[in-house]
Symmetry: C2
Subunit: 190 residues, 2 copies
């Protein structure tokens, strides 16, 4: 049972950590403030002491998911892969970061890392190119995560390929190389 | 009130048309079989006479949204724009088509149109490139639709730019040209 002073035990960090763990369990569509509060054994209203809105909480989760890509990779492709892999560390990570980015909430860590890598590679339109690259990575990763989740529940058509994500890594590299302005890359078909 | 023979008045087409109209009203997250049934004045179970699952119904909606891009545009960029514009004709259109594509349901009309345009343009990896292009278009369009919806409800941070989608058309063209293998396009900055 929630007691009047239970919320004192919680802070912004523990609310965010609980929400991230619950995201992995139930997915983004079912991650409600009510559910997060129940897991913390507090009333939903107690959450709003730490986060002004659900969107603000989701932005904090987005920042935590992308926190590992603060240091840019050695090049554009490595940075794009680091972003993709960070999105994959939590269920519906790509969808959550895409929504937060659409609402201009949270940090722009991923896009900034791409812009730095593109500038280092000599791009004269690094900001626009970083935005296009991030949109590709988010579209790609959302697709891969939804397909893997459907596959884990046997929800894909039975007549499809045995490996649900076959070829998607190759398409990711093709897309990133093309958007990075790398026209002839030895990693295109690796 | 629903009567025992009400469902006879409905067929696959009328269920899909009602669901598409409801999508525009309530958005994808709230488009439940229960709500669609209520709008049709039937029991939810009556819908399953026409569609085996909600996913099958969503796949039909996805096919209707992408139906207009059956005839490929004159080139890759025009085809990509036709796909984007088709996604924009219904609320959450991009998110719905992305989900259906992730689950390998519905037609592959959009990807096929891109592959044909790329083949016509001389690409030797038209299928992979079409997949990468579609993932970019879906990521881009999902972002734009979510941002426009948030903007219409005043849900974007007040310190952002006045035009919520400023620059996004330029980034779309940059991304499509790069993924199409067009390195120097006169339309890049139009």
């Amino acid at each position: 049972m929630a007691s009047p002073h239970t919320s004192i035990r919680h802070d912004r960090d523990s609310v965010a950590r609980t929400a991230l763990a619950l995201l992995d369990e139930v997915g983004l569509a079912d991650l409600s403030m009510r559910r997060i509060a129940a897991r913390l054994d507090v009333q939903p209203s107690a959450l709003y002491w730490h986060f002004a809105s659900k969107q603000e909480l989701l932005a904090e989760l987005s920042d935590r998911i992308t926190a590992t890509i603060d240091a840019p990779g050695p090049d554009v492709v490595a940075t794009a892969r680091a972003i993709r892999d960070a999105l994959f560390t939590h269920r519906d990570g790509a969808e959550l970061v895409l929504s937060t980015y659409a609402l201009r909430l949270g940090s722009s860590r991923a896009q900034s890392a791409l812009a730095r890598a593109l500038t280092d590679a000599g791009a004269d339109d690094a900001d626009d190119r970083a935005a296009a690259l991030l949109q590709f990575v988010l579209g790609h990763a959302t697709l891969v995560q939804q397909r893997m989740h459907a596959d884990s529940y046997g929800a894909l058509p039975a007549d499809g390929p045995h490996d649900a994500t076959a070829g998607l890594d190759r398409i990711f590299d093709l897309g990133v190389n093309a958007l990075a302005g790398v026209t002839h890359s030895p990693t295109l078909r690796d």
